[in-house]
């Protein structure tokens, strides 16, 4: 029994326990939290960052980082709004949104691999460019979307469960399968674990790295569809700070920033933890100005618990 518990604690499911404990605490202190309506709203609100975080897991798995996701979500949303205004059909617009995500992922990937610029700077630059263009186009205005059919992705529901939750679930399952059951996942983690060793074993490090950024771009596009549909508008500020929440979710989920591992279940739990905390504070009427402080503290506590759990604190890293 003790062995089993130990094994569970060292697996990626441990983070789920932290999430559950957090939810129980929230439910006890503010009973409103436990209502099915509130739970649904938490899940629905996690979808946009959660999906981006799933894409981010692949990039971080290769040892990289993608700071451009917030910018990607924003600019994709704005372009879609402009296309709707110009009467382009929805199917075409969805396709264009997806292509934009792929293209920006490719751009990041090519700059990182072929042109050998470090990921953090490449994606920071792309972030600046995408936000900059968004501001330039919108001039601070909001672009409204009047196409009713588009409401489905962010505001609709299937079998009583809102569409974003479905999409989030599907992306999570696909992401989990890709990492656990497909060779692509093994290759991505191999690149993050030891790129040279992976290359010597015949893994196309360049190709795999680019694919990881493209997956992140695709996730940003999907997230943008939900976000834009939910607001039925687009502005230059919608994706702001998203990359940081996504990175926090990935790392809380147990994925190492150094690459070489990637836990989708952890990432989903990590994203939920962040929303649950925000939601709890809203319900408990915590001063809005203090919310980020609490969020930051909780992130540190979550990571600390994770380090204790893995016995990292006692380990002498320098002795290795």
């Amino acid at each position: 029994m003790k062995e089993k518990f130990k094994k569970l604690m060292s697996s990626e499911l441990a983070i789920l326990m932290i999430l559950i404990i957090l939810c129980i605490l929230a439910a006890i202190s503010t009973p409103v939290f436990a209502t099915s309506r509130n739970i649904m709203s938490v899940l629905q609100r996690t979808a946009t960052t959660g999906i981006v975080a799933i894409g981010m897991t692949f990039v971080i798995g290769t040892g990289g980082i993608d700071l451009s996701v917030g910018g990607q979500v924003t600019i994709i949303g704005i372009v879609s709004a402009m296309l709707f205004t110009n009467g382009v059909s929805m199917g075409v617009i969805l396709l264009i949104m997806l292509i934009m995500g792929i293209a920006m992922g490719l751009l990041n990937g090519v700059l990182v691999t072929y042109l050998k610029i470090v990921p953090i700077m490449v994606t920071l630059a792309v972030q600046l460019i995408t936000f900059g263009i968004s501001l330039y186009i919108t001039e601070g205005r909001q672009f409204l979307i009047k196409e009713d059919a588009f409401r489905f992705f962010g505001l609709g529901n299937i079998l009583g469960i809102s569409t974003p939750i479905w999409i989030f679930a599907i992306v999570a399952v696909i992401g989990w399968l890709l990492i656990k059951r497909f060779t692509l996942g093994r290759k991505i983690l191999a690149v993050g674990s030891n790129a040279k060793g992976a290359w010597y074993a015949g893994v196309s490090v360049t190709k795999i790295t680019i694919v990881a950024y493209v997956i992140s771009g695709i996730c940003a596009a999907i997230s943008s569809v939900i976000m834009t549909s939910k607001l039925m508008s687009a502005s230059a500020s919608v994706g702001e700070g998203m990359e940081m929440d996504a990175i926090a979710a990935v790392v809380i989920g147990g994925t190492s920033m150094a690459g070489g591992n990637g836990y989708i279940v952890g990432t989903v739990a990590g994203a939920l933890i962040i929303t649950v905390i925000t939601n709890w504070m809203t319900l408990a009427d915590v001063n809005p100005y203090l919310r980020d402080v609490v969020k930051g503290l909780i992130i540190i506590v979550a990571l600390l618990i994770d380090n204790i759990r893995r016995g990292k604190l006692r380990k002498n890293d320098m002795a290795g």
Partner: protein, 514 residues
């Protein structure tokens, strides 16, 4: 003087622990780790102005003995005597106080700092405030270099020096603290023969200056050349002290191994079959020049040569590492009579070539990934369909590998780093067997693995050859290549020094060409 003088000042009774003047003695030293005896009753004396070699296989007790002398370990029993007076050495600080200086490999230096900073890194300042008097530091660094007759500017960035020069700086760093005993652990392991002379000259200089030098190296020839006396270890026992002048490489190797050497290499010879692989005029700018050879079915091709002679470059050329970018290999490779080009390892793997690399932890394995992932890494297509991995196929593959290679491991989901060196090497081999490689190149296949596991690796080579796999073995241990191969190629400075059939030559004769 630096920190050392402060240490003296902190001693209430000056003279209680004195620095070694003439003699360091170990008497009856024993050390166990968890019930396993690592050292038993080790005694020897070291005298001023002498160079001592420590020889033995991995795990024989050399490094444990060194760690007791430099204070990293404390002996369970026995004494350490300085000039006849017993002293307690229970920490590296104690060891420093009696004057033991350890030279770490050049890897422990800081490439972006300059020479003087590297020499005095641990005691740059003599003041409490931490203020650094650069003029003084450079002056003292110059004095030390001058004393050692080394001509290097103290302002040069360390990373801009040759590796051999960096090793010299590592020695000077040890001298920068007052000391009498200098321990050198494999100082030339990453140096070419030519560059090693720089280090050997420095050792001679240390001897002339009256230091006690302890020299550890697996390069037996070097040990015999530089030392006055060799202390041989085997299974935690001291076998004896020998005058270096009365030994030759073979007798020393036999003392180390404790048996006639032939039995170490269970070579099986097979009938020579058709041509498997032919390399013509392989060259890599600055590393390899016009090397050609042929590998036949049923035989092992051995490539010998010292570190830096070009063996690894041949392996990497065959494996496609130098296929694109810079440096780039030229020449032709024929597999089963057909010309092949491998621009990257992936191409070579596709042509059924596998490399068991010299640098196992970086190029051979993903040490933090699971045993299972490492085995399947080069044969993903075989265990998957449209990228979907077939768990059953993976399991049966792992089972057959574990059986045929006799890999001892618990859960295949554990990281490779949890395995012993020998088993790790088997995982690298399993990767290529899983990929159904027809040519397997072994570059330094037994480095860092113990004797028993070495024999297991040799037996696997025999088995591979029996199954018709082409085997190429490269090693800087001439014996290993000589005894395990049928045809041998000797490289020197990137060129072919000679090619021969191992049945026509003997090791001594061969070493004349190295």
């Amino acid at each position: 003087m630096g920190v050392f003088s402060e240490v003296i000042l902190r001693q209430p009774h000056e003279g209680e622990i004195n620095m070694i003047q003439d003699k360091l003695e170990l008497r009856g030293i024993c050390k166990s780790f968890g019930g396993i005896k690592a050292l038993e009753d080790i005694s020897f004396e070291l005298h001023s102005g002498m160079v001592y070699g420590l020889a033995g296989e991995n795990g024989a007790g050399k490094s444990t003995t060194m760690k007791i002398i430099n204070g990293a370990y404390v002996a369970d029993a026995g004494e350490i005597l300085v000039d006849g007076v017993p002293v307690k050495v229970t920490s590296p600080q104690d060891a420093q106080r009696i004057g033991v200086g350890m030279v770490y490999q050049e890897l422990s230096l800081l490439p972006d700092l300059n020479v003087a900073e590297n020499i005095f890194i641990s005691h740059l300042s003599q003041r409490k405030s931490g203020y650094i008097n650069w003029k003084n530091i450079h002056e003292k660094a110059r004095e030390l270099l001058h004393m050692m007759e080394i001509d290097i500017d103290t302002h040069i960035r360390l990373g801009d020096l040759k590796v051999a020069q960096q090793q010299l700086i590592a020695i000077v760093r040890a001298l920068s603290r007052e000391c009498k005993v200098i321990i050198l652990d494999e100082p030339t392991s990453s140096l070419t023969d030519k560059d090693s002379t720089l280090v050997l000259n420095a050792v001679r200089r240390l001897k002339a200056l009256g230091y006690i030098v302890i020299y550890i190296s697996h390069k037996l020839r070097e040990v015999l050349e530089i030392t006055d006396e060799v202390i041989v270890f085997r299974n935690g026992h001291k076998i004896g002290n020998y005058q270096s002048s009365q030994l030759n490489e073979e007798s020393l190797a036999e003392l180390i191994a404790g048996r006639k050497l032939e039995s170490k290499y269970p070579k099986v010879r097979f009938e020579k079959g058709e041509e498997l692989l032919r390399a013509e005029h392989l060259s890599v700018p600055g590393m390899l020049e016009d090397v050609s050879f042929v590998l036949h079915k049923g035989e092992v091709l051995g490539i010998a040569g010292l570190m830096g002679a070009g063996k690894t470059e041949v392996a990497k050329t065959l494996f496609g590492v130098f296929g694109s970018g810079n440096p780039r290999a030229t020449g032709e490779i024929y597999l089963n009579g057909k010309r092949i080009t491998a621009r990257i390892p992936k191409d070579a793997i596709g042509k059924k070539i596998g490399l068991v690399p010299e640098n196992r932890a970086v190029e051979g394995l993903l040490t933090e990934m699971s045993i299972s992932d490492n085995v399947i890494l080069a044969s993903m297509d075989k265990i998957s369909k449209f990228g979907w991995m077939n768990q059953k196929k993976i399991e049966s593959l792992l089972d057959s590998m574990k059986k045929s290679l006799q890999i001892k491991c618990g859960d295949v989901n554990n990281p490779v780093s949890s395995l012993s060196g020998g088993n790790q090497q088997k995982i690298v081999l399993a990767k290529w067997l899983a990929a159904e490689s027809e040519i397997i190149i072994f570059d330094e296949p037994t480095r860092g693995i113990d004797v028993g596991a070495k024999v297991a690796v040799y037996e696997l080579m025999n088995e591979l050859v029996r199954q018709g796999v082409g085997v190429i073995i490269m090693s800087s241990e001439a014996d290993e290549v000589f005894h395990m191969s049928d045809t041998m190629l000797l490289l020197k400075n990137g060129r072919t020094a000679m090619t021969c059939s191992t049945s026509e030559f003997d090791v001594e004769e061969m070493q004349l060409y190295m």
